[in-house]
Point group: C2
């Protein structure tokens, strides 16, 4: 626990009101199951996890991630672990502290790798497009961030749709925030090098996006990453992104 | 798992939209913490769990339970385990299958027993009264069910308030649904006797409440309990009571 229990005494507890209004109510009632997401490739048994962030029209940045991590099945929001804290720091570097909405490429956690047949399933893509349609129709999005190659593909597929073609935003397709851990397989030297490479890639993304953001939550001078993560580069997941009543420690720890 | 994964293929998945509107948004943002619920008596570290059921004005029955069980911290709704399934069966006996709202006496899970000082804390009571005020102001409640002695006391305290005095409903203060397990401490003979006693107590409650219900969800002839639970006396927790995306098995198992 980073904060003491006493720290919870005085504060109010903002939370994410969730999916009580359309089109999100319908999107969370009718969603693809095992006929679209084969249980041999996806952990369908934990249920879908839909999003994190603003669904009220106030988002300026859309982030597309890959798939929910195991412990996110408890919190029921995506990108709340280490990848999420790194992303939170990335967004803050161009002044986005609350006006974002995060979606994944896949509703369910992936086993190992995803086959082409699975990820090109028309119903899987169509459902994801309904979410993207909703996010771009209802909000004044100025930038898109995709995390990893599958998310970049997901964005590309939507960009080819009529609504995608009619949408003009700055896009940065950046390295997935936990790619260094996946790629280095426990080798510390490789990990440090992979993080340095990722942060260089992220710096390019920042330099592309920062000028495009017309309405950041706070105006801030762009400070690029160094060779490794430093204090303040990883930020906690805000309580207002999570369901009502969750204790602080539940959104400050992985797994 | 009672239903196969294949069973999830075709169905839509109703869910509880939660606390996105007032007065519930404020009640779930500002709630008592350790200054009101001492961590020596309550499991404050899991966060508060607020309710289960209808907050949209359609409830006809208010149920007051005692405190959330441990595994309800995952589902974030109260009375979703064995006690909840027994209660679900009780409500169905007088035709209430969806028009209910469930509140607990305490926001947090109790350790052992609660001191008088703890349960009479004015801020604890005042917060609970704000919930009851909201439920009775916004909904057309015809009956109240309290589970166990502490819930009966909670009801009594609210009944003495101005809004409570102005409220006329049928009330049944019944034995808590898992009192037989607590009281018999693993002795099977005692358990069977305690269940028989509880079901007799519940039958009296049913006979009192059934005539008072003017708007049940379905009209049904009252069939009283026998000496033990029988098929259909325990019912599953409806998906529409739970947060979006939860898989079926998560609300069909305890712990």
């Amino acid at each position: 626990m980073h904060r003491s229990i006493a720290g919870d005494r005085e504060m109010t507890h903002p939370f994410d009101p969730g999916y009580g209004h359309e089109p999100f109510q319908t999107l969370c009632t009718d969603y693809p199951g095992v006929d679209v997401y084969p249980p041999t490739r996806f952990r369908v048994e934990w249920g879908p996890i839909f999003h994190r962030g603003r669904l009220d029209g106030s988002a300026r940045v859309v982030v597309i991630g890959q798939d929910p991590a195991q412990h996110e099945t408890i919190v029921r929001r995506i990108l709340v672990g280490e990848a999420g804290r790194r992303l939170q720091g990335f967004l803050a570097k161009f002044g986005i502290t609350r006006s974002y909405v995060l979606l994944n490429t896949f509703l369910y956690s992936v086993y190992g790798s995803v086959t082409v047949a699975a990820r090109k399933h028309p119903a899987l893509i169509a459902y994801r497009h309904r979410w993207l349609d909703a996010l771009f129709a209802g909000q004044q999005i100025e930038a898109v961030v995709t995390l990893g190659t599958l998310a970049a593909e997901a964005w590309q597929l939507w960009k080819e749709t009529p609504q995608g073609q009619a949408t003009t935003v700055a896009v940065a397709s950046i390295t997935h925030p936990t790619q260094p851990e996946s790629a280095s397989k426990g080798n510390k030297t490789k990990l440090a090098a992979a993080i340095t490479a990722m942060l260089q890639n992220w710096n390019a993304g920042l330099q592309h996006l920062a000028p495009a953001l017309q309405h950041p939550d706070r105006v801030t001078a762009l400070v690029l990453y160094g060779e490794a993560f430093q204090d303040g580069d990883r930020l906690p997941i805000p309580a207002q992104d999570l369901p009502a009543g969750l204790p602080t420690w539940m959104h400050e720890q992985d797994g």
